[in-house]
C-alpha cells in the first residue's frame, strides 16, 4: 500500500484547497449526524487513510447506482473520495475488459485478502444461477468467492439490499439480496433506486475513517444517519398535508401550487431516507420537489407495495369482488333470517291457545 498516493497528494492533484477539504470534512460530519467535535478526527483520518482496495460487483442491475455515484460533479470532494479508494474492479468504470478485468479482481483479492471492501449493486439470481454470469462465472459464485476475503460488504441500491426490481413479483430469476447469501460478513445496506450519491460516498468515507463499528444500522441494515427518519417528516410539502391541501391530479391547481402529493400515492410517510434534506445533484432537488410522489424506493418490495399512484390509505387488495359477494350473501341470509323469524312467529301464533271466560270457569 506504501506506493499508493495518500489523500493530500490526490487533493492537490485535483486542485482542491486545504480549506475546501476541511469544509468537506465538516459537512460530512454533519451529514453523518456525528458530533461536530469529530470533524478534525475525520480530517485527520482521511488525510492519513491509505487507499483501500475496493471491488465493485455488478449483478442483476441497471447501472443506475453507478450512474448516481458518478453524478457527484467533478471536482467535488465526493469525486475525490471515490478516486481516493483503489477501485480495482468495476465493470462500467474500469478500463480493462475480458480476462484482464477478471485478473484485476483476482489480483486485488489476493493482495488484500481479508482487508478489501466489496460493494455490490444488483440482485443475485438463485433459481438458476446461469441467468446472470460474468466471464462465465455465475453471480452467485462470484459473490461467494469475492465475499470470502472481504472486510465488509456494502450493498448499494435496493436490488443488492433487498432484491429490488428483479425480486418483484413474479421474480422470474429467483433474485435475492446479498444478505440472503452472505451471512458471515458485516453487510451495510444503502438502498435506493438509485441511492443518493452523497449517502453512498459518506458511508464509504465513514467506513474508511471511523471504522465499521461507528456505522449504526437499523433492523434493515441501513445506516441510521441516513435512514432514521421518514421523507414525510422532513418534506417541505408537509405543511400542506397538515393544512389538508392536496394535489388530486397531476395537472390540477394543487399540483401547480406544490401541495401535498399524498393522494397521488406518495410513499413519503412510510419511507425512510434523507431525500428531502440532502436531495440530489448537489442539493438541487428530489422527486417530490419535481412534482412526483415518492415511490418508496428505499424500502423492501417497493415495486409490489400496492401501486405507485394509489394513496397509502387506499385498500390494496381485490376487495370489490368480495364486497359484491358480501352484498348478495348478506341480502340472501337476511331474507332467510326474516323468513325464519316470520315462520317462528306464525307458528307461535298458531300454537297459541285461546282461552275465554267459559274455559276458565270449566277448568275451575
Amino acid at each position: 500500500m506504501a506506493d499508493r498516493p495518500m489523500l493530500p497528494e490526490l487533493m492537490r492533484a485535483h486542485g482542491v484547497s486545504r480549506r475546501g477539504f476541511l469544509k468537506y470534512c465538516a459537512s460530512l460530519t454533519s451529514a453523518l449526524a456525528l458530533p461536530p467535535a469529530l470533524a478534525p478526527k475525520i480530517a485527520y483520518a482521511l488525510e492519513n487513510a491509505a487507499r483501500p482496495s475496493v471491488i465493485w460487483l455488478s449483478f442483476q442491475e441497471c447501472t443506475g447506482c453507478t450512474e448516481a455515484i458518478t453524478r457527484s460533479h467533478a471536482p467535488t470532494i465526493e469525486d475525490l473520495i471515490f478516486n481516493a479508494i483503489s477501485l480495482d474492479y468495476h465493470h462500467t468504470l474500469q478500463a480493462a475488459s475480458g480476462h484482464a478485468a477478471e485478473a484485476a479482481r483476482e489480483h486485488a483479492m489476493k493482495e488484500n485478502y481479508g482487508n478489501y471492501l466489496v460493494i455490490v449493486d444488483g440482485s443475485i439470481p438463485v433459481d438458476n444461477p446461469e441467468y446472470s454470469c460474468i466471464a462465465g462465472i455465475s453471480n452467485l459464485d462470484m459473490l461467494k468467492e469475492t465475499a470470502a476475503g472481504a472486510a465488509a460488504i456494502i450493498a448499494v441500491g435496493t436490488c443488492a439490499a433487498y432484491g429490488g426490481i428483479p425480486h418483484a413479483n413474479p421474480n422470474p430469476t429467483g433474485a435475492v439480496a446479498v444478505s440472503e447469501i452472505i451471512t458471515d460478513k458485516p453487510i451495510i445496506n444503502i438502498p435506493g433506486c438509485p441511492p443518493i450519491p452523497i449517502v453512498m460516498t459518506s458511508v464509504i468515507a465513514q467506513f474508511l475513517t471511523l471504522g465499521l463499528d461507528s456505522i449504526e444500522v437499523d433492523e434493515l441494515g441501513r445506516p441510521k444517519a441516513f435512514f432514521g427518519e421518514t421523507i414525510h417528516d422532513r418534506c417541505y410539502r408537509r405543511p400542506f398535508y397538515d393544512k389538508g391541501l392536496f394535489a388530486e391530479t397531476f395537472d390540477d391547481e394543487g399540483a401547480r401550487e406544490g401541495w401535498c402529493l399524498y393522494k397521488l400515492g406518495c410513499k413519503g410517510p412510510t419511507t425512510k431516507s434523507v431525500c428531502a434534506t440532502v436531495k440530489w445533484n448537489d442539493g438541487t432537488s428530489f422527486p417530490i420537489q419535481a412534482g412526483h410522489p415518492c415511490l418508496g424506493c428505499t424500502e423492501p418490495d417497493f415495486w409490489d407495495n400496492g401501486g405507485f399512484y394509489k394513496p397509502l390509505s387506499a385498500p390494496a387488495g381485490n376487495y370489490r369482488q368480495a364486497g359484491y359477494a358480501a352484498i348478495a350473501a348478506g341480502a340472501a341470509l337476511g331474507v332467510a333470517g326474516g323468513a325464519l323469524a316470520r315462520a317462528t312467529k306464525a307458528k307461535a301464533v298458531a300454537a297459541h291457545e285461546v282461552v275465554d271466560a267459559h274455559d276458565l270457569e270449566k277448568k275451575s
Binding site: A161, Y162, G163, A177, S179, E180, N189, L220, G221, T230, H232, D233, Y241, D242, K243, G244, L245, F246, C260, Y262, K263, P269, T270, E299, P300, D301, N305, G306, K310, P311, L312, S313, A314, P315, A316, G317, N318, Y319, A322, G323, A325, A326, I327, A329, G330, A331, L333, G334, V335, G337, G338, A339, A341, R342
Partner: protein
Amino acid sequence: MNNAYFDLLMWARGPGFTIALTVMVGGILLRLVEILLLGRKKDFAKAKGSPVAQGIKTIFTRSVARKGMMKEAPVTYVAGYVFHLGFAVAFLFLGAHIALIKSLLGFGWFDVNKALIETAAALAVIAAIALAYTRFTDPVRRALTRFDDWVVLVLSVLPLITGYIAVNRVFGVDATLWMAIHILTAELLMIAFPFTKLMHAVTFAVSRYYNGSIQGRKGAES
C-alpha cells in the same frame, strides 16, 4: 429481506381490509333485510295523521335530545354529542380518509386542517372516557351494561388514539407500524359493527321511523 412493519401494513390494506369490508357489508345487509322483512303488524284503523311524513321527520328530530336531559344526565348529553361529532369529523374530513372513501366510492369531498381533525379526535376520546366513567359509576347504567358494551366502547376509541399516534409519531414510534395498527383497529371496528350495538348507526333510522310513524298515525306530531 423484508420490512415486517410494511408487510403488516400491506396485509391490513389488502386481505385485512377485504375481510373487514365483507363482514361489515354482509352483516349490515343481513340484519337490515331481516328487520325490514319482519315488518310491523298491519294497522287497520284509519290513520288520523300522516304516518310516513311523521316517520321521516322523526328520523331527524330525534337527533335532538328531549327536554330535561341536560339536568337528568348532563355527561351523557354533552359527551354523547361531542363523541359522535368528534368521531365523524375525524373520520370524514382527514385527507387520508377521503382518499380511502374516494377509492371505494369514486367521489370525495373537501379536506380540513389537521389541527381541527386532531382537536375533534382528542375531544371524542375525552368524551368517551367521560361516558365510560358515568357508565361505570351510575348503578342503573352499570346494571344495564353488558361485556360487549365495553368492547364496543374500546373499539370505537382505539382508531382515534392509534390514528393520532401514527400521524404524529408520538413517542417516536415507527410510522409504518402504527399506520398498520391504526388500519387494523379500524378493521376490528368494522368487523364488530354489525354484531354489536354499533349497528345503531344504521338501525337508528329504522327505529326512529317506526316510532314516528306509529305516533303519526295516531295524530301525534314529533
